[in-house]
């Protein structure tokens, strides 16, 4: 359909521009911001064209680019995209465009390399979502760490060194185990393409080990419950745009990986262990919401809330295992719910981190007790923040509700207890989000010691566009559903095919 | 004829003596160099006896090469010793522990 290889441009254009920005660090702030704005805009336009020309009725892999990369080990430079990757590519380009707009009002020392690292990160994310050769996927999955490691480390808060090294090593440990399982699978299927892994017949023990390796690898990225402790530190120390991209897109890489690797390959083991994994995600939903309620730091609170919301994603995915046997439609609903939840959580957590960043710019403190009475001085901003807090607690009419609603429906399919516990998150997420709203936005603040004043025009554009998207996906998420529908049913059928 | 095993045992005894000389020595480096010479002596002895036992000359030819090389080595070793003494005013083994950890 296209003369130029669309996916490769999506990946290598931002990386190339990012490298230029990083290398030449003496060009002025305004020039580097305009360059970043331009590149992210081009990428957004290309991904929208990708979305339009991706015909979701057929749903299989499209825009395939496959060249031999390392002939000896038959690793291919294999890029392709299906419904799930298109939605995530769109999310990445949109969020990065917003970061570019938001960054124009931020001033950091040597800002050009700051923006350069973001562009490199964007390119690598595009690569992760469109790589279909497992080693290429692993390379993009791993090299995501470097730009973010530097962003958090150089422009982060006070305790940034500890946080960023912990973030790097935590994820590196997970992904390294994943590397072994990829090589092991490739050894059996003697090809690195992901689809070839789907038709392997593995013995039960093999599947258990592979499942555990993949689970640790992607579980750390998603962050699932026991391995999530890197996220609050990374968020608290990261600069605003850093924690925006971390929360809204990087967590989705873990979920995407699970759907791509975990579901189709280790199905038997998945079904066997599905109950434990569902308990894990339930713990993530309920326990983490309690922990989120106890936070004093705004960013930590939102970080824990994203762990809780990602709990829904993992639950949706593991429900597919649980319901595969007796109720495939409920399994498909669960998976679709997980997908929608990923997209909507991406938008909502990005918006919330933008809000906290704006407030931090005035009050220079992230603690809840230092920020009070914002609504008096920033009415439009607090209106939007209340909207996002409501979306975060899953108010219907916003996209936050759609994902959770589907996941709860499918969890009722397996047992009422799961559905009830998942539905509990309705109160819990409302309790901590509105607690944040109550303490920060409302309340009386005579002397305005924090110097709040209404947010600038570019911040209004950023938050405004996020409001529009969250509302649009909340009221009629049909556009998202028919994008994902065919790919989800393909995955479900490939799993049942694998099992039969 | 003395069986070959006696010679081998003799050379290993000398060899172990020289190694013991290296790590039991607490005095100075000269003693170390001497025990090194002893080690090469045991190897030469071993080569000659085995060459004679096998009845071909490569053993002895090998010994000549070893002798020349060992001579060069001990020359360099003594030169380094002098440089060390000029710098550190001591050649005592116990003082040579600045590089550690």
């Amino acid at each position: 359909m296209f003369d130029y290889p669309i996916l490769s441009t999506l990946i290598w254009l931002p990386i190339f521009v990012g490298l230029i920005l990083v290398a030449s660090n003496d060009i002025g702030k305004s020039l580097s911001t305009t360059i970043t704005l331009l590149t992210t805009l081009i990428i957004l336009i290309i991904s929208i064209k990708l979305f339009q020309s991706y015909d979701h009725s057929v749903g299989n892999l499209q825009f395939i680019e496959k060249f031999v990369w390392i002939s000896g080990l038959n690793i291919f430079y294999y890029l392709a995209v299906d419904g799930i990757s298109v939605s995530l590519v769109l999310l990445t380009s949109f969020i990065n465009f917003l970061i570019a707009i938001y960054a124009s009002s931020e001033d950091y020392n040597n800002k050009s390399s700051y923006l350069g690292y973001f562009l490199i990160l964007e390119g690598l994310l595009m690569g992760t979502f469109s790589a279909f050769d497992s080693i290429l996927f692993y390379i993009f999955f791993e090299s995501l760490l470097i730009p973010l490691f530097l962003i958090i480390g150089i422009w982060g808060g006070e305790n940034r060194k500890y946080a960023t090294i912990k973030f790097f090593l935590y994820t590196f440990f997970g992904s390294v185990l994943m590397l072994i399982s990829i090589i092991y699978l490739a050894n059996l299927a003697d090809s690195f393409a992901i689809e070839d892994f789907y038709y392997l017949t593995l013995s039960f023990e093999e599947e258990i080990f592979l499942l555990l390796a993949f689970l640790i690898g992607f579980g750390i990225k998603v962050p699932m419950w026991p391995v999530h402790t890197w996220l609050p530190d990374a968020h608290v120390e990261a600069p605003t745009s850093g924690s925006v991209i971390l929360a809204s897109v990087l967590l989705k890489v873990g979920g995407y990986g699970m759907i791509r690797f975990l579901l189709p390959i280790t199905t038997e083991a998945g079904i066997y262990l599905s109950d434990y994994m569902i308990y894990l995600s339930l713990i993530a939903i309920i326990y983490i919401s309690f922990v989120a309620f106890a936070q004093e730091d705004m960013k930590k609170l939102i970080a824990y809330s994203s762990v809780a919301h990602m709990g829904f994603v993992t639950m949706g995915i593991f429900l597919v295992f649980n319901l595969m046997g007796n109720n495939p439609t409920a399994a498909a609903i669960g998976l679709e719910g997980a997908m929608v939840q990923m997209i909507s959580h991406g938008l909502i957590s990005a918006a919330l981190f933008f809000c906290i960043g704006i407030m931090y710019k005035h009050s220079h403190s992230r603690l809840i007790k230092d920020n009070f009475g914002v609504a008096q001085f920033m009415p439009i901003f607090s209106f939007m923040m209340v909207f996002f807090l409501m979306a975060n607690s899953g108010l219907p009419g916003t996209s936050g509700f759609v994902g959770e609603f589907l996941v709860i429906t499918s969890s009722l399919g397996s047992s009422f207890l799961f559905g009830f516990l998942a539905a509990l998150s309705l109160i819990l997420s409302a309790s901590y989000s509105l607690k944040l709203g109550k303490n920060v936005l409302f309340g009386d603040n005579q002397k305005n010691s924090q110097g709040y004043l209404e947010c600038k025009s570019n911040e209004k554009i950023v938050l405004g566009s996020l409001v529009i998207f969250v509302l649009y996906l909340g009221i009629s998420p049909d556009v998202l559903f028919n994008l994902l529908d065919k790919s989800v049913s393909d995955i479900i059928s490939s799993i049942s095919l694998g099992r039969a | 004829m003395i069986p070959i095993s006696y010679y081998l045992i003799l050379s290993t005894i000398i060899f172990t003596l020289s190694i013991a000389g290296i790590f039991l020595n607490r005095k100075n480096i000269l003693v170390l160099l001497m025990s090194l010479e002893l080690m090469f002596l045991s190897v030469n002895f071993n080569l000659i006896t085995l060459g004679n036992y096998l009845g071909d000359l490569t053993g002895q030819v090998f010994v000549f090469f070893v002798l020349t090389v060992v001579a060069a080595e001990s020359a360099i070793g003594l030169a380094l010793l002098i440089v060390l003494f000029r710098n550190k005013k001591t050649i005592d083994v116990d003082d040579l522990s600045e590089l550690k950890g």
Partner: protein, 476 residues
């Protein structure tokens, strides 16, 4: 007989002797003699390329494989001399003898790799060690380097003693010192005779001494001290050329004569490989001195090479050769960057000297970033592909548990590479850092190569594949 004069070893030795004599007259113009040395090296490399393979010399190998490796060694020497020249020039203690001795060491390495008899092997190793003793003690005025020299001398002599003892045992029990005769003897030996025991003891002694030269785990004790004590330019030489040479010796020694007893030494080498990876990673965690840190990272990289070689399989061989070349490239780059940075006018000692480099010299900060990430094995760079191949070789030969240990150790080792990046990028500057830009272009090519090869690894992959196929003499 005449054509013997056209092999690089002879040309280099004669050339060096001439230069030593010439140098007496050119005391003041050191750069003329240095350019002469470079000219000599270039001529030798041309001869290495055009060497014609011959079969009629039993104890010395003239094959395409050795000529290519010789060319590689000379190329490495040229790059190292550039760095050393700029380093010594900066410390204005430039002496031409440094280069002449290292060329002799280079000749030693060439002899080692093309040896077909244990005698030639011993002579090559001794020539190299003699040159290295002198180079390590080159800095006459610093107590540290003389102490390092003495330590290396004593331990080196001891290891060559052990080597000789091993060779004598092998000679005694197989009756010959030529690789192929030994191979025939060992192939038809019955396993409960006394010769069998003697040969095994001989192999162990030789392995011990070669592992000492390689700097592998239980015999690595000298590596950190000597790397820290000697001049930084000697460390570059020490950590690249001898390592390649000893690797090729390992390759030829174990895959031709001792091939039949493969099950004996492959277990030893696996133990040594794993031990050096673990020790290399664990010891380096709390290091303060940058040279010691790079020494331990060298030890863990050597562990990877030995582990890959110990698998005695075609892809294991290929992986180890690939890893050696990548390792020497990375070592060249990382030590090269460290040579180019001096903090308050004397060489970099501790990591904290590098603090805040990204603020003052962002270009060098990027260089350090790339080298550290490549040696840590992070994907976009070449280090990752090397580690990937070794792990894949491990898994193909179903050493799953081993690969898990190796992979966990890379995570542990990633920490101290990150610590260096942390000090360079995240901390504030304390002392005056200055850099000199004499051989800057070469350094940046070297580092950018790491990134470039990372993105297009097939270039290096095909060359090593070609090299391995050249090794026709080895049959696995």
């Amino acid at each position: 007989m005449i054509e013997l004069f056209y092999i690089p070893e002879v040309i280099l030795s004669i050339g060096v002797l001439l230069i030593i004599i010439l140098d007496l007259y050119l005391q003041k113009h050191k750069y003329i003699s240095f350019s002469l040395i470079q000219l000599l090296l270039v001529i030798a490399s041309l001869y290495a390329l055009t060497e014609v393979p011959q079969q009629n010399y039993s104890s010395y190998e003239f094959s395409e494989f050795t000529s290519l490796i010789k060319f590689l060694l000379i190329l490495g020497a040229i790059i190292i001399f550039q760095y050393t020249y700029s380093h010594l020039n900066h410390l204005n203690s430039l002496k031409i003898e440094y280069f002449t001795i290292s060329i002799l060491g280079l000749v030693g390495t060439m002899v080692m790799i093309s040896a077909y008899s244990l005698l030639m092997l011993y002579l090559g190793i001794e020539l190299l060690s003699l040159a290295l003793y002198a180079l390590i003690g080159f800095n006459k005025h610093s107590g540290l380097s003389s102490e390092a020299a003495i330590k290396y001398y004593v331990l080196g002599a001891m290891s060559s003693g052990i080597l000789l003892f091993g060779i004598s045992l092998i000679y005694g029990f197989t009756g010959s010192i030529n690789y192929f005769d030994i191979a025939d003897q060992i192939r038809n030996i019955n396993s409960n005779s006394v010769q069998y025991l003697g040969i095994i003891f001989g192999i162990i002694f030789i392995t011990a001494s070669l592992c000492f030269k390689f700097g592998a785990a239980p015999f690595h004790i000298w590596v950190p001290d000597i790397y820290q004590g000697s001049l930084i330019s000697t460390t570059i030489l020490l950590s690249t050329l001898p390592k390649i040479a000893v690797f090729i010796v390992f390759l030829k020694l174990y895959f031709i004569p001792f091939m039949a007893l493969e099950y004996v030494w492959s277990d030893i080498l696996i133990f040594i490989g794993i031990a050096s990876i673990i020790i290399g990673s664990i010891f380096a965690l709390t290091q303060e001195n940058i040279k010691r840190l790079l020494a331990y990272s060298a030890i863990s990289n050597i562990g990877f090479i030995i582990l890959a070689m110990a698998l005695v399989s075609n892809d294991g061989l290929h992986a180890s050769l690939y890893y050696t070349i990548v390792y020497s490239f990375t070592a060249l780059a990382s030590f090269g960057v460290v040579t180019h940075i001096t903090s308050n006018s004397h060489g970099i000692e501790d990591i904290s000297d590098l603090a805040g480099l990204s603020k003052t010299h962002p270009y060098y900060a990027i260089l350090i970033l790339i080298t550290m990430l490549s040696s840590a094995g992070i994907p976009p760079l070449i280090g990752f592909h090397a580690k990937l191949m070794v792990i894949q070789a491990l898994i193909n030969n179903s050493y799953i548990l081993l690969s898990i240990i190796v992979v966990l150790m890379t995570v542990v080792s990633a920490y101290y590479y990150l610590r260096v990046i942390k000090t360079v990028y995240f901390e504030e500057r304390e002392n005056l850092i200055s850099t000199y830009t004499s051989s800057n272009i070469l350094l940046s090519i070297n580092v950018i190569l790491l990134l470039g090869l990372g993105i297009f690894p097939f270039i290096l992959f095909d060359t090593t594949n070609f090299l391995v196929n050249l090794l026709t003499v080895i049959s696995i």
